[in-house]
Each structure stands twice: as structure tokens, then as C-alpha cells.
Symmetry: C2
Subunit: 221 residues, 2 copies
């Protein structure tokens, strides 16, 4: 019974995700779904991305949270358009929530849409939004075993950032074991080490992102 | 529709949770539901607890994970009985999963049952298991704003541990702001700072736990 309900919900969701993708493509907007556990650095990465790209790229942000506007307030200070989705308890964004937000955004005024999903390493990976690229952030203090314990998230990722590399000296995080686990699940995924605090590695991330902005159509997620 | 389905599921769950509680009470077992985001230190806290209490207290552990037996393997090395629940994709334990596990444990042989829930700061808080105490772990690198963004978890907690205090010098975590946010949601909750890596503060946690072991009946969760 529960499984049947979930299947119906996911199937309806996928259809709306396709509509979202069409809206984004028609407006020529590259869209990212940023997913991670709470506190891995989603908002910090978005702030670094805005800072690095905003001179040449028109960026919009959608912030997904259960409650509060803490992250949206931080992003708004950067002078880019931000829209807050409060899920009211739901542990993930879904395609319908995103569609309502897209209809309230001036998509023709932006080139890049960054969606910050709810902090959750599980459920967020199950609901397609219709975006172009899934961006997954791990962080050093979380430990290197997370890909083995939460495999779906690392399987749906198009690019994975390992954040908080500045904490590596104080941690037993094994980057080699982590990368091996990730590549076992998702051999083609790009893995980029960064520290949003010190800025180390951010230029590699921006370079990856500029590469995506240079392409036109990509596979729907 | 979705809300109705969820309500029915939660109501059925609560009934099974009450049965679990009865089983635990009849066996005189104190039970803990340990919840946190992935990588906050749930398994590390359990290992520290076993190490600190196992001479005088008979401990059993149930490990909840989506997949893998990584944590159960670590705990088993300590020589305590461990049972693994793999949820097969589900993002939380529920009362039914716990009941199946309890029926496979020799409850009369233990005094303390520690249940490690799936790494998730949202859904795990929604499903009562029937245990005596909800133990929530935050960690310093996650940042101090988590109680405001994931309020339910901090509301259902009976005790909150702030782990990875050894990383405080390398972080902008504001313990005062964190504690204020927690107490705003849950004025009576106990907050204990620890580092499972260095062992700092663990004696305060063990002292709290010994206090609970000394009591008899407590309110069902």
C-alpha cells in the first residue's frame, strides 16, 4: 500500500519535472539542484558561486527549507533575485513546489538558476525536479563512508564537491577511500575538493560550472 | 490525499510504538533513540557509551541504515549484541521495523538498548519508536543555525549532545546562539558538549545516562 502510493506520487512528480525542464530550456536557463546533508555547506557554495560568476552571469536562487528564511536572507544580501520555498515540514523539494516557484520568477532575466534543496541526504535524491544538473556536497567532517551508507544520492549526482577541506588536518577523512566509493557507484561523476571558508578549489568548481553554461542542452534529471 | 495517507501511517505507527514500549518496560530495558544528520557522530557516541558503561551495564545496540553494515560491524567489535536493520531505502526507522528487531533480541539479557536511527534530521523525528528517550546529536561543523531550520528534531529531543567540540577553534559555531535557539524550542532539554574524538565531556553524558538508568518508568516517546 505505502509502496503503491509512493509510486503514484513519484510518477506524477516526474511529469511535472518534465514541464519544469521545458520552461527552463525555453528560457535558456541552466539549472542546478544542490543537495547535501544539513550543514555541509550548500549556502556557502552558493554564495561563493555568486561571488565568482555574478559579473558575467545573471544568477537566480531558489531556497528550499522546512521553515525559516535564514539562507534566503544571506543570499539576498548578494543582490541576486531569491525566492524562498518553505516546505512546511516536507523533507525535500518536489517538482510541483519548484513549478510554483518558477512561475513566480522572471526566468528570461537569468542565465543560471541555483536551487538549494532541503538538507537531507536521502529523500531529496528521490524526487526529480526537472533541473539540468544535480550537485551533491559532502563535507570532510561527515566522514568518508557516506557514499556507502547513502548510495542513491551519490548515484544521481552529476558533480560532487567535497567541502571543508580546511578541516582535513583535524579529521580522519580518507579522500582516496571516499573517491573510490563514489566512483564505484557513479564512475563518470566529477569530484571537486573545495573549502568555501578559505576559497581553495573554488576556481575548479567555477571552471566546471562555466563549462556547463557553455553547453546548450543537457540530459534531464 | 498525501496528508491523509501520512496521518493514517503515523497513527498505525503510534499504536505499534506503544506495544514496543510495553515490551521494553516489561524487560526493564532503558531504550534510547539516537538521531542526527549523517556524520554527526552517532556511532562514535555509541562506541564511547559502550566503552564507558559496559563493565556495569549490559548493553544491546540496534543499527538502522538504508544499506550497509558498516556501523554494526564497528559496534560488534566492542563485544556487545548488535542487530542491523536495513531499511531498504526508507529514510527513517519506524515502530514496526523496531518491533521486528525487538522480537529477535534477548531483551532479558540487557539493561540498556541503544538504537541508532538513519542519518536524517527530519523524517526520523516524525516516527515514534516507543523508546524512553530521544537523544539528538548536533556537531560543531554543521553550524549553529540547525535548530531554527529543523525545529521538530530539537523539539522531540530529551537530551542534545553537541559533538566535535575539538573543531570549535576552526569553526564559527556560536554555542551561545545554538543553545538559545534550542531552549527556545525546548526549554527543559539538557544540552551536553562533547568530543567523541578526544573524549572531552563524555563523562557528563555518561553521568546523564546513569541518572536515567537509575530511574524506573519514563514518558513514552
Amino acid at each position: 500500500m505505502e509502496v503503491k502510493v509512493l509510486k503514484d506520487i513519484l510518477s506524477a512528480n516526474d511529469q511535472i519535472a518534465q514541464e519544469n525542464r521545458r520552461m527552463l530550456d525555453e528560457s535558456g536557463v541552466l539549472s542546478l539542484n544542490v543537495m547535501a546533508t544539513p550543514g555541509a555547506g550548500k549556502t556557502s557554495l552558493i554564495l561563493q558561486t555568486i561571488s565568482g560568476l555574478k559579473k558575467k552571469t545573471r544568477i537566480g536562487v531558489i531556497e528550499g527549507d522546512i521553515s525559516s528564511t535564514i539562507d534566503a536572507d544571506r543570499v539576498a544580501q548578494e543582490g541576486v533575485p531569491v525566492l524562498q520555498i518553505n516546505t512546511g515540514g516536507e523533507c525535500h523539494l518536489d517538482a510541483n513546489m519548484l513549478q510554483r516557484a518558477l512561475k513566480n520568477m522572471a526566468l528570461s532575466d537569468i542565465d543560471l538558476l541555483i536551487i538549494e534543496n532541503v538538507g537531507n541526504l536521502i529523500c531529496t535524491a528521490e524526487f526529480k525536479l526537472g533541473v539540468h544538473k544535480n550537485v551533491v556536497i559532502s563535507s570532510v567532517p561527515e566522514g568518508h563512508d557516506k557514499p556507502l551508507k547513502y548510495p542513491l544520492m551519490f548515484t544521481v549526482a552529476d558533480v560532487i564537491l567535497v567541502n571543508k577541506m580546511d578541516l582535513l588536518p583535524y579529521s580522519n577523512f580518507d579522500l582516496e577511500a571516499y573517491t573510490k566509493a563514489v566512483k564505484g557507484l557513479n564512475p563518470k561523476v566529477d569530484v571537486i575538493d573545495v573549502s568555501c571558508t578559505t576559497g581553495v578549489g573554488i576556481k575548479n568548481w567555477l571552471s566546471w560550472l562555466r563549462g556547463q553554461l557553455g553547453k546548450t542542452k543537457t540530459k534531464s534529471k
